[in-house]
């Protein structure tokens, strides 16, 4: 319990730090909303610039802007988008489901494909399987997901003449169309990530399989299957779960570009557009949300350890 309280305290401190950092970084970006509105051809007079800056509250000192933002956030008010004039909270709530679905499906895919393949690779004696895993692993690690995404689009449309419906449909209104829409983005994100999981599973399994308790289990006459799944895999899971957790964090970065390529109206693309257009309130709120998610995932992973390995106890 003490551990949890300490953890919670540090989480708050970390998030506060993140909030300051985001706030400053966004403002350090050269150019603001006024420049974006004007472009290289528009003509805004000095008075017009001042008027726009005042409208968005950007004429105040930065610490004041920060204090106002923080106060708003604590009250649940994330501000208004410069660009669309909508409340940011409303915008995020409308975008969140797409990103959550994309992330969950990806993690599900990665887990379902990565762990069994990793286990298979660890017990296989075939040279071919081993080199195959190595080569695919190297490719998967070095090819970025956005490149895979473009490749998938081209392949799907050119070779198969297939492309899912473009206008996003939520899973509640039509699960089948929605799944089709999610298929390519999930695949593009999952390919790279599952390779990491395969490799991690394989090496972790190999290590565990060499240990005495596995030999004991085998000597007791347990079936190979039981040894593998009940004894070895459970013990090999800790590093795998760590990697999966970390990857969920990275996934948040991956969705930014993937969503844009596939035209999925999720948080990632909202963030990217916010940055392009210097829509400070949107960028700040989205990054904060990502930060909170990251912290929560890490906490979840740590708590999962105690379940997987009862020897781990937090003091």
């Amino acid at each position: 319990m003490r551990y949890l309280a300490r953890r919670a305290l540090w989480t708050v401190v970390a998030l506060l730090g993140v909030s300051v950092l985001i706030f400053l970084l966004v403002r350090l970006l050269p150019g603001n909303i006024v420049d974006i509105i004007a472009g290289t051809e528009g003509q805004l007079s000095r008075e017009q610039r001042t008027a726009v800056l005042r409208e968005f509250g950007l004429d105040r000192p930065v610490p004041v802007q920060y204090a106002l933002w923080l106060r708003g956030m604590l009250r649940g008010d994330l501000g208004w988008s410069f660009r669309s004039g909508q409340p940011v909270a409303q915008l995020l709530v409308s975008r969140l489901p797409v990103t959550i679905e994309l992330a969950l499906l990806t993690v599900l895919g990665v887990t379902l494909v990565g762990i069994p393949l990793g286990v298979l690779a660890s017990v296989s004696r075939s040279m071919r399987v081993k080199t195959g895993v190595q080569i695919v692993g190297l490719l998967g690690l070095s090819v970025p997901s956005f490149w895979i995404a473009v490749l998938l689009i081209i392949t799907a449309s050119h070779l198969f003449g297939w492309l899912p419906a473009l206008i996003f449909v939520s899973p509640w209104s039509d699960p089948w169309v929605n799944l089709q829409q999610m298929f390519l983005p999930v695949l593009s994100l999952a390919l790279g990530l599952s390779v990491v999981v395969v490799r991690m599973t394989r090496s972790s399994m190999l290590e565990v399989l060499g240990q005495d308790f596995v030999k004991v289990a085998r000597a007791k006459g347990l079936s190979a299957r039981a040894v593998l799944l009940r004894h070895a895999l459970r013990n090999a899971l800790i590093p795998i779960v760590t990697v999966l957790g970390l990857q969920m964090g990275y996934l948040l970065g991956g969705v930014v570009i993937t969503e844009q390529i596939f035209g999925l109206p999720g948080l990632g693309w909202t963030l990217l557009n916010g940055v392009y257009q210097r829509d400070y309130p949107v960028v700040q709120a989205t990054v904060m949300l990502f930060a909170v998610t990251f912290v929560v995932i890490n906490l979840g992973v740590d708590l999962l350890y105690t379940y997987l390995d009862p020897r781990i106890r937090y003091e």
Binding site: G39, T40, Q48, Q86, S157, I167
Partner: protein, 537 residues
């Protein structure tokens, strides 16, 4: 000078743009000389128009906001164009024709415009449009608090008077080609009186246009439905249009192939991928988008016209076109080739072929026989600007000029460019790679950049071109088309000689349209105005 909707009229910009329609053909013929190919700007048409159906199109950029007075960057115009209209508009032949104004009179030596409004024009909410709405809308643009970035198109207007419910009078400080500003639509859309105070115009809107807004989901889609009470019956033919935001070109091409969308804007490379694809027509024509480098002419050594000219001479224009635009462009001076008949004949433009020896000589004459170092800034937001800059970097090596190419994210680039404008070129960089897009009148490509009092004249802050000043003022005051053309041609020749910018080419507007979509015509503005005239076969 009374004008009506039915009769062909003359004077100011109107006839010039009519000539432009013909000259556009001439321009295309000229293109063959440069080894480029161009198909007619109009898609093939079979059968007669019929009502019904919905077109799904791709939008290549997410609009910033739908407010017709402040959301004035081009991606926003592309989105609100279907909802809003102004007093005048362009037809397919680039003539300025009546829209919400049925006719107009120009009196008082070009300083008073009296517009007769079309009766019984309905807004999307059923309200009838009157002179009060016109006054309210234009006053809103002119109000400094609105901060409209394109106010300079309209701020020649000193006051707006409502004469009667269907007559508006606008008084100007000095003669200005105003009808073009309305046709150009940036910041000139007419909205119902008081709407801006009631609605969030960034994401909603009520206009008189052929389509009304059903739904706008930023970064995802914009859905329009037919405006049943549209004044220009029987238009529009379509029941609706949906623009799906697809920033990734491969996704647009894939969606075209799969039949998911019926319209997309493409790059030259993208178009090449669709070569021979069944059921898709790729249309190309030059449009008002001239790629150029802005030069800060205040600092040495670029303050010397000979240096700037020498650098321009060292670069082969056609090489820039081939490498940066993949051949889908035509050489251009300050006014984009293809823009009415105001542009200079591309065949007579200087430096189409590089003259390295001449450039070296000129550079030595200016006191730089061994060249110098210079930085050029560009943004990967527009890959062709980067490509153009790299071609220039390579070419300039031959005359000893060492170019550093600095790539910047668009927001950072724009901010620095703005800083340079505000500080009269004292801050910021020496050379920027960019483009000038559509303006309602040739004046827009010249005055604000090169008149000594121009808003964007960072180079002219303390170094004006007196002859150009005189020509540009004279052209504003003249209402004789041939006379204006002569003045603009002369001004352009002087500017090419002085090289305060390096102008390279006018890009082709490349649009892919499904053959199911009939009756679509390209616009030299790059706008998709004529989707309202299309129907589904």
């Amino acid at each position: 000078m009374a004008r009506t909707g039915s009769e062909s009229d003359r004077g100011l910009t109107r006839r010039g743009l009519l000539g432009g329609g013909l000259a556009l053909g001439g321009g295309l013929a000229g293109l063959e000389l440069f080894g480029a190919t161009a198909r007619p700007a109009r898609a093939q048409t079979t059968g007669s128009p019929r009502h019904g159906g919905t077109v799904i199109a791709a939008a290549e950029i997410d609009p910033i906001a739908l407010d017709p007075h402040t959301g004035s960057n081009f991606s926003s115009v592309q989105a609100y164009d279907h909802m809003y209209e102004s007093l005048t508009m362009y037809d397919e032949k680039t003539n300025i024709v009546p829209a919400l104004a049925q006719s107009w009179e120009i009196t008082n030596g070009g300083k008073t415009y009296t517009f007769k409004l079309r009766p019984n024009v309905k807004f999307h909410n059923g309200q009838t449009m009157t002179a009060d709405d016109v006054k309210y809308s234009i006053d809103r643009v002119l109000d400094p608090k609105t901060a409209s970035p394109w106010v300079s198109w309209l701020n020649a207007i000193k006051e707006i008077k409502v004469v009667d419910p269907l007559t508006v009078q606008m008084n100007l400080d000095a003669p200005y080609p105003l009808v073009g500003s309305f046709a150009g639509m940036r910041a000139a859309g007419i909205i119902p009186k008081g709407l801006a105070e009631k609605e969030n115009l960034k994401i909603r809107g009520i206009g008189t246009g052929p389509f009304k807004l059903v739904e706008y989901v930023p970064q995802d889609r914009i859905v329009y439905a037919r405006h049943a009470d549209y004044w220009d019956k029987p238009l529009p033919y379509l029941d609706g249009m949906t623009f799906k935001v697809l920033t990734e070109e491969n996704a647009r091409i894939a969606a075209l192939r799969a039949g998911q969308i019926q319209y997309a804007f493409l790059s030259a490379q993208g178009a090449a991928q669709l070569e021979g694809a069944p059921g898709i027509t790729v249309a190309k024509s030059p449009f008002a988008w001239v790629v150029l480098h802005y030069i800060n002419v205040l600092n040495k050594p670029l303050s010397d016209a000979r240096v700037r000219r020498a650098m321009r001479m060292a670069v082969d224009t056609n090489e820039v076109i081939q490498k940066a635009a993949f051949g889908a462009a035509v050489p251009s001076g300050p006014v984009p080739t293809g823009y009415g008949d105001w542009y200079l004949d591309p065949k007579t433009l200087p430096y189409l072929k590089a003259d390295v020896e001449g450039a070296k000589k000129l550079l030595a004459e200016a006191g730089y026989p061994n060249g110098f170092k210079v930085e050029i800034k560009c943004s990967p937001q527009y890959p062709e600007f980067v490509a153009a800059t790299l071609v220039i970097q390579e070419s300039l090596k031959k005359i000893g000029v060492d170019v550093t190419v600095t790539q910047m994210e668009w927001g950072a680039f724009v901010a620095e460019n703005a800083k340079s404008n505000r500080s009269c070129g004292k801050e910021g960089s020496d050379v920027y790679s960019s483009a000038n897009t559509f303006r309602p009148d040739p004046d827009g490509f010249l005055y604000s950049y090169f008149h000594s009092k121009g808003d964007l004249n960072k180079g002219g802050c303390d170094r004006p071109y007196p002859r150009v000043d005189a020509l540009l003022v004279e052209a504003r005051q003249s209402s004789n088309h041939a006379e204006r053309r002569r003045l603009y041609h002369e001004a352009q020749r002087i500017l090419l000689e002085e090289s305060p910018n390096w102008w390279w080419y006018a890009k082709f507007n490349i649009e892919a349209v499904s053959s199911k979509v009939q009756g679509y015509a390209q616009s030299f503005t790059g706008r998709r105005l004529f989707l309202k005239k299309t129907w589904l076969a």
